[in-house]
Point group: C2
Amino acid sequence: MAHEPGAPLRVALLGCGVVGSAVARMLVEQADDLAARAGARLEIVGIAVRRPQRPRPDVPVDPALFTADAEELVTRADVVIEVIGGIDPARALILRAMEHGASVVSANKALLAEDGPTLYDTAARYGVDLYYEAAVAGAIPILRPIQESLAGDHVRKVMGIVNGTTNFVLDAMDVSGAGFAETVAQAQALGYAEADPTADIEGFDAAAKAAILASLAFHTRVSAADVHREGITEVTAADIRAARENDCVVKLLAICERVTADGTDAVSVRVHPAMVPRSHPLASVREAFNAVFVESAAAGELMFYGRGAGGDPTASAVLGDVVAVARHRVAGGRGPGESAYADLPVVDMGQAVTRYHISLDVADRPGVLAQVAAAFADHGVSIETVRQQAVAGEGERAKLIVVTHRASDAALSATVSALGSLDAVDDVASVMRVEGA
Amino acid sequence: MAHEPGAPLRVALLGCGVVGSAVARMLVEQADDLAARAGARLEIVGIAVRRPQRPRPDVPVDPALFTADAEELVTRADVVIEVIGGIDPARALILRAMEHGASVVSANKALLAEDGPTLYDTAARYGVDLYYEAAVAGAIPILRPIQESLAGDHVRKVMGIVNGTTNFVLDAMDVSGAGFAETVAQAQALGYAEADPTADIEGFDAAAKAAILASLAFHTRVSAADVHREGITEVTAADIRAARENDCVVKLLAICERVTADGTDAVSVRVHPAMVPRSHPLASVREAFNAVFVESAAAGELMFYGRGAGGDPTASAVLGDVVAVARHRVAGGRGPGESAYADLPVVDMGQAVTRYHISLDVADRPGVLAQVAAAFADHGVSIETVRQQAVAGEGERAKLIVVTHRASDAALSATVSALGSLDAVDDVASVMRVEGA
Ligand SMILES: NC(=O)c1ccc[n+]([C@@H]2O[C@H](COP(=O)([O-])OP(=O)(O)OC[C@H]3O[C@@H](n4cnc5c(N)ncnc54)[C@H](OP(=O)(O)O)[C@@H]3O)[C@@H](O)[C@H]2O)c1
Ligand SMILES: NC(=O)c1ccc[n+]([C@@H]2O[C@H](COP(=O)([O-])OP(=O)(O)OC[C@H]3O[C@@H](n4cnc5c(N)ncnc54)[C@H](OP(=O)(O)O)[C@@H]3O)[C@@H](O)[C@H]2O)c1
């Protein structure tokens, strides 16, 4: 596999959709710059797609390069770029490429989060690179900074807005005051949400990214199945209003955090909507933008902001990785492989600790606040603030808004059940975690 | 220089001040994590300082490791960390370390901006690494993202708040309305400005960082001497007020930009105060924080935010580099090396193109606006908006506030001279560039 000086590197592209077509175009249009930076010309030797006959006028390559035979293609490349997506056949193709000595660049968060270790093991066995910067937060350089720039530091928390669709929806709800279903329909009309938006709005996409971020930040294997996941389908206009009254916005966050559980180091990895104070840098991430906030022992607070998706932005991240793996083919060396030495346990959501914002519809009579406060105290949840609002036109009803200090999710759930069974409480109208305060 | 498996790597630390003492502490306290990440234990073999006898209770190492003989120390290390600062003896020590086969990590922006190519050439000759992430924007991973993550993209502009002292001063002036001298004194009292603040407030520090950023972003040698530099000493409370009225803040920016000059590609590299709209992500960078905004063809807009200085944050960046170069010693390979193939010319400030905000004190009588407008038109500077304000209590005087479209600095300077000689203009009260609109 030694590279012959002056020879081009053979690049195989798997997939030529939104991301792949941008990658192909940039490989052609920026060929000279890429060659100067990588140390060798990058020559596309084939592009595997489902429909090789389909005209692709925006991809400036010889149509003879398109093939339906991805399995054959990966055996004759130095660098394989996988932008098909999904688990199969992407996984088998990547493994086969590595077995034939190719380094791999992928944008496939679903696969990395489901079965990263198999890919890493195979890369190590065959001495090739596996890079996937594009898999998390699109164009934003975030994996390389966590994995390499912060390699001498101790990362405490990674908290990101890593799904553009849900951020677009929540931001639009905040601006318009509209409800969830209506806003999703509008996002679909504008192309910000897919026809079947499940992977985004149920938090599956963010959970895959959380697993990848946690693995790198904490040197521990974390898969999508380890991630506690709540989407945004239950976020109501009332929640957004409540957040606004609390000087917060609602964001879907992917949170990876070091915690202490039963006296030992562990990690909590979760995706859920949360209120974020408007003064926090993540609060000003609007529309479909992404941002990742990192807190580490020595560096302190860092934030990375940019476009989380789209053909060109994602292709930028893919090609940065392609230059890195190509440089290694030419000049020797390999990127940092898997680092899972810390092997920390992942705690249940019940052990995750955060603050909560709870709105209750209650009877407006003496003694109610005392009952409510007792329910919190009974479960060891300490209250930071309580605000009582009379409900206009309903003399006997009031709203109680409680913000807690940090408490475990288990204690909070038990508190909410207890509140629900109090006579004086008509309804637990909204419960939302508060992050970044 | 092949690394023997299992053997520790010998680390020499040059300098043990603000940054060096944090580096030494982290090398000791995080030794196990660093070993797991680098692939070998990192053993401090010596710490060179001016005063080796001085007690350093916050540095948990054997006092016998301190030495005044840096020249000898660098000959017996695999990795040399240079955190002395300044040009001499830092340069000679780094070169000597490389000649003896050591890889080098430095935080020395002054040296890199003055003589980076010599260092790079020597690193290449001896096959060693030269890393310096800490030299720009402290803890913020910015060099690795530009050099590696964006290696497949086409960077158009890098615009950063890279000096914490000046940002602290300008932010405090914005909040308090106070003048420059008073605010600098306050920053000194709080430890945000040095006793001799020249390097910061005159823009020398930012200019060194601009040169480094431009070199990496544009694959072109740019040294500090190529950077147009204006500090913040002439920024007045009136300028800050004018910015505020224009819904802007004043920031000292390091700007590296691709331009077209005389029909060919070139770069403009400059440091100067500028008005930035409050809606721009850089506007919300408060106090001594740093942030770098990057615009590239495919990735679009990215921002990186965090702490630009301080012992621990800077040590975080240094140690990330140490792990990278240590990994290369253990596993083979080298970092990216100098890339200056594009070799673009650096244009004079006169050819830099931006927008301007100009306040004029004028006579309040018919025809003045026409005269002023003519002065702009004569020099080919086109006006975006003009606002006229009566000056309270001075019936015959008014203020004209002009914001231009993009124009060259040369055309603007000529316009300002012409304005100054108009009868109707009493004073050109403030001229400031506008960026990020
Ligand atoms: N889109 C984004 O903004 C974005 C952002 C970050 C990461 N990603 C990731 O990037 C990857 C690609 O996403 P995308 O949006 O570009 O997907 P896409 O537009 O659906 O494109 C998929 C491509 O794969 C080809 N393909 C599908 N099945 C195949 C098979 N069995 N063999 C060979 N080729 C096959 C398709 O061929 P045809 O063209 O013939 O249908 C198409 O060219 C996914 O992992 C995604 O998660 C995407
Ligand atoms: N401070 C920051 O926040 C920051 C941020 C980013 C980058 N940097 C860069 O990091 C570098 C170090 O900055 P610093 O703030 O740590 O400086 P510092 O506190 O002044 O420390 C300088 C150290 O170098 C030693 N030294 C000076 N001359 C020497 C010589 N000729 N031989 C051997 N040792 C010598 C000093 O020894 P003694 O202890 O005996 O005096 C001291 O330990 C500079 O390049 C700076 O630009 C600093």
